[in-house]
């Protein structure tokens, strides 16, 4: 059973229907990747699922409760963590201070352990605005590790970072899932995201399509044609079976 379901979500933005009847699920112990072209509505869907913006239609179910008008604060108190597509941490406090606040607020995990796990122990006393993009994403991952959420919704966490940082981030997401967290992540870094994913959802035309595991997604004709592109090198990476679509 899904921990989070944003069900039959519709949303108009600026006179345009971005989402018609989209559905997003997050299952415990799994990483779900939400793909879609720019403007397809994947960030909007994630924001609605996180209670960041309100849907015009649809309902969000989280941890056994149904919310017609969820707020991030309400969902966060029940175990959700949302990484927006902009920097999360404030520049007023050091990275360590913010992680300490999270630990105290939620009885979270080891701050030093999280900082070391993502390789930024040396900048723990720095303020976020002094960090590089890769260090910022790692610091946000450290915040997630300290928070130990039941569900993580991460909007384009791989944006603008070096391959090594992306690798650390992907490992962190896998580690969270291994600990039972339900992870949903968006982005366009197809090889990295497919490697990290258990399930793939495709957002297009205001709808969502659950494509199954990465191997099945790679073989989905519409997904390949409209999103991956016909000549993509990551079309098939291993000798997987080829389910029909």
């Amino acid at each position: 059973m899904s921990l989070l379901v944003a069900d039959a979500v519709g949303k108009w933005l600026g006179g345009r229907r971005v989402l018609a009847a989209a559905t997003l699920r997050a299952e415990r112990g799994q990483v779900r990747v939400l793909f879609g072209r720019n403007g397809a509505g994947k960030s909007t869907l994630l924001k609605i699922a996180a209670g960041w913006i309100a849907a015009d239609t649809g309902v969000v179910h989280f941890d056994g409760r149904a919310y017609l008008r969820p707020t991030l604060a309400a969902l966060a108190r029940r175990g959700l963590f949302y990484l927006p597509d902009h920097d999360l941490l404030t520049s007023v406090l050091t990275v360590r201070a913010q992680l300490d606040l999270l630990r105290r607020r939620f009885g979270g995990g080891n701050v030093d352990g999280a900082l070391e796990a993502v390789g930024i122990a040396h900048v723990a006393q720095a303020r976020p605005h002094t960090l590089s993009g890769g260090e910022l994403r790692r610091a946000e991952l450290a915040a997630v590790l300290v928070r130990r959420p039941a569900c993580l919704l991460a909007d384009e966490p791989f944006r603008g970072i070096a391959p090594h940082d992306a690798e650390v981030l992907a490992l962190g997401l896998r580690r969270l899932a291994a600990d039972g967290c339900a992870v949903v992540v968006t982005g366009h870094e197809v090889p990295t995201l497919l490697d990290a994913a258990d399930q793939v959802t495709w957002c297009t035309g205001g709808m969502t399509y659950e494509l199954g595991p990465p191997n099945a997604a790679r073989m989905h004709d519409g997904f390949r044609r409209d999103y991956l592109g016909p000549g993509t090198p990551w079309r098939r990476s291993t000798s997987e079976s080829t389910p029909g679509h």
Binding site: L72, A73, T90, V92, R105
Partner: protein
Amino acid sequence: MAGLARLYLLRSAVTWLLARLLLAVVMATAALLDGGTDAGTTVVFDAIGEAVIVLACAALGMVDIRRRGERALLGNFGVRPAVLVAWIAGPAVAGEIVLALLLGGGA
């Protein structure tokens, strides 16, 4: 959540203090230009004036939180909107009450 509350209460107190200082300077300048001499009128307002100052400080606080991109962080901490409003308006309310008690105003 005490650490987070302290941060926003302190920031809001500074905002209120700066707004009050700016207002006092403007009012004193206006009074001087008008030939007035009563310094008390530069810091004491009626209840409506005090309410306007509190609302202005709260609005400034919200704008500052948006500008710094801190809304998601606060949401992830589970801070309810009502609690946030209390954090950013509380120091202004307390300051206006103290000023009114000390100097005699509308509160």
